[in-house]
């Protein structure tokens, strides 16, 4: 990498270092190290409880992969990821609730028997009894909604702030709707008390580990896919759209389509994350969909570094971890710390913590130079 001798010319090269043989294997090596850590070491050293928590954080990390793509690379501030997370989660939970009910010989999931208005399963629940359909829907449903919304919005060149506020409004609308349909969606309670996962009991710690491993594998696969997308021609185009949409349009591309792909892929990832969240945590509820959680999904990525895949993923895990550990000990102080974290990370370190080494290096360069000048 760069040496300690610095000059203005070197500063530019920091951003795009020439690919050395060592550099070429840096990414796969880091990837491998991450895989070994998550698949091999974590299950050995962590208790069932901690591993389960990690599984939950990794679900947030999967959302962050999509956020990194859409926001970090595409410049789309996706403030409605809760919608897609929720759609994926509900699709999965609906199937698992139906499977649980079938296991115990009931026609209806438990909450419908208590709070429902009719003895028949609503028609739109019926297809979710089929595992393949439900699994497909965890991804298809969020992607379809994203495609529809994105098509409408990007075509009319609604962008920036408008897009962000619209996403928030959509998240609010879905969560209000779900709460209002208590007889068929469980209302504010959401879908809870999920016992089984495709025939395996979730009460068994061994199966919980299986869920964890599935989540890790999905995360790693999606990270690899996202990285492939980043370095592809499409990835370059996406960054170009982010940086100057007009110029890309003059070059003959349709920026709306470029953005649409990133948005839809990110939605699919959020849906998958929501689907995996259900067996890991055992609940999906409107509380995971509204405006606040939607901002939460973005914050992790912002803190870690939105444009850096690893940064976004680690940021999402770190913020979720800090939230659950620090909020007990210092509920008030944690709220301040959280606010401050957003302000510092987004306001003063737009590249997130992932950019910290670069920033420090540049700062050192600058101070060294200004020292020379003085």
């Amino acid at each position: 990498m760069t040496t300690s001798t610095t000059s203005p010319a070197k500063k530019v090269s920091v951003a795009q270092p020439p690919v050395s043989p060592l550099e070429r294997f840096r990414v796969p090596a880091a990837f491998l190290a991450g895989a070994v850590l998550l698949l091999g070491i974590a299950p050995l050293v962590l208790s069932d409880f901690r591993l389960n928590l990690l599984a939950k954080y990794l679900c947030y990390a999967i959302v962050a992969v999509g956020v990194s793509l859409a926001w970090g690379r595409g410049g789309l501030l996706v403030l409605g990821q809760g919608v897609f997370f929720g759609l994926g989660g509900y699709a999965m939970a609906m199937h698992l609730k139906l499977a649980d009910a079938a296991d115990t010989g009931q026609a209806l999931p438990d909450f419908m028997q208590l709070y429902g208005t009719s003895d028949a399963l609503p028609w739109w629940w019926k297809p979710f009894a089929n595992p393949a359909f439900a699994l497909a829907m965890t991804v298809v449903l969020p992607m379809a909604v994203a495609a529809l919304l994105g098509f409408l919005v990007f075509r009319r060149r609604v962008k920036g702030a408008y897009f962000a506020i619209l996403s928030q409004a959509l998240a609010a609308a879905l969560s209000i709707w779900l709460i209002g349909q208590q007889a068929t969606t469980g209302g504010t309670n959401g879908l809870t008390d999920i016992q089984g996962f495709f025939g395996y009991s979730l009460n068994d710690p061994v199966n919980q580990r299986m869920v964890y491993l599935i989540i890790v594998v999905v995360l790693l696969l999606l990270m690899a896919a996202a990285r492939q997308l980043f370095v592809s021609r499409y990835g370059e185009l996406l960054v170009a759209v982010r940086d100057c949409e007009e110029r890309v349009r003059f070059l003959g591309y349709n920026p709306a389509n470029v953005k649409l792909i990133a948005y839809v892929v990110a939605a699919g990832m959020a849906g998958l994350a929501g689907a995996l969240f259900v067996p890991a945590v055992g609940i999906i509820s409107p509380a995971l969909i509204g405006i606040v959680p939607s901002i939460g999904f973005v914050i992790g990525a912002a803190v870690g570094g939105r444009a850096s895949l690893v940064g976004a993923v680690l940021g999402a895990i770190a913020v979720a971890w800090a939230q659950s550990t620090l909020s007990d000990a210092f509920p008030a102080a944690w709220t301040y710390a959280q606010g401050l974290l957003f302000i510092v990370a987004v306001g003063f370190l737009p590249g997130g913590l992932a950019s910290l080494p670069t920033v420090v290096r540049n700062r050192r360069t600058t101070t060294a130079r200004s020292g020379e000048a003085a």
Binding site: G160, A161, Y162, A172, I176, I295, Y336, V346, G347, P350
Partner: protein, 295 residues
């Protein structure tokens, strides 16, 4: 007929609340393009100002009238401070401003919790404002709603006059239309920005005082209003006061009519969907100002 008239007044009064909470945003968001998520907390600051003043001024009516200018100054000062500390560094990054001010809003909420306690606090409304005027035939107008309506219209009038007639207004409009050109013409754009932000945030404080008459006063009260306020400005179109005024009343009436015939949830969802659909038709809102692109 009675129902229709009563509901229209209800719609207008909902619209008046919407207008009042969105009015400050028409300046900070509409004119300057800053997405300030802490706007709701400036509303909260205004409400708490009323609460604090009422501890020293026992007459509810007097304290309310005193609270209006004081809340304007308190919230305005908070806004100006926020602009100076953070927002001016982020003018080129509107979306990041959203997240940064979200962090500010979290901290302000916690601050309110630490200072005033987590539970809601109560203010005493003047008796004059808790009653209603009966127009006969079952039609009644609630006094607090009339007060809010009057206050909102007064603020709109004042704001229009400032923007149209004063040198400050001219400078604000110049900066909105073309910042660079304004700057080379000798306008101290930074100072104009701060003044605009001061007024916009101050209006949030005024809204907060009025809201003590109809809603809860607590650390999270701002979050109840913030998204609605932004939607009003987005639909109204940036840079145009009249867009926001019309939108606030149209959304208010729409909400009240739908709510009467269906349920609150359905009405809320329907209004949100209607807004998304409307923006398909007019992506830049009801009225647009020829200006540099927002993002």
């Amino acid at each position: 007929m009675t129902v229709i008239l009563n509901q229209s007044f209800t719609g207008i009064s909902i619209g008046a609340v919407l207008l009042l909470i969105a009015l400050g945003l028409t300046l900070t968001f509409g004119q300057m393009g800053v997405i300030n998520m802490a706007h709701g907390e400036f509303i909260m600051a205004g409400a708490y100002t009323t609460y604090v003043l009422q501890k020293s001024i026992s007459s509810a009516g007097v304290s309310l009238l005193v609270a209006l200018p004081v809340a304007f100054l308190v919230a305005g000062a908070m806004g100006a401070l926020l602009e100076w500390l953070l927002i001016r560094r982020l003018y080129t990054r509107p979306l990041d401003t959203l997240l940064v001010t979200w962090g500010v809003s979290l901290m302000l909420q916690q601050l309110a919790r630490d200072v005033f306690g987590a539970p809601n606090v109560q203010t005493h409304a003047p008796d004059l404002l808790t009653g209603n005027i009966s127009l006969g035939g079952g039609i009644t107008l609630a006094n607090n709603r009339l007060f809010i309506l009057g206050l909102a219209l007064l603020c709109v009038l004042g704001l229009t006059l400032i923007l149209r007639l004063t040198p400050l207004g001219r400078r604000v409009r110049a900066v909105v239309q073309n910042r660079d050109l304004a700057e080379v013409s000798g306008i101290a754009t930074e100072r104009v920005d701060r003044t605009t932000f001061f007024i916009g945030s101050g209006l949030a404080g005024v809204a907060g005082v009025a809201l003590t008459l109809v809603g809860p006063i607590g650390p999270t009260m701002g979050t109840n209003y913030i998204v609605d306020a932004f939607l009003v400005v987005v639909v109204g179109g940036i840079g145009q006061l009249k867009g926001s005024v019309i939108t606030a009343f149209v959304l208010g009436v729409l909400q009240s009519v739908l709510e009467y015939s269906t349920t609150v949830s359905v009405a809320k969802v329907a209004v949100l969907v209607a807004i998304v659909a409307f923006l398909q038709w007019r992506p830049q809102g009801l009225y647009t100002l020829r200006t540099r692109s927002l993002a």
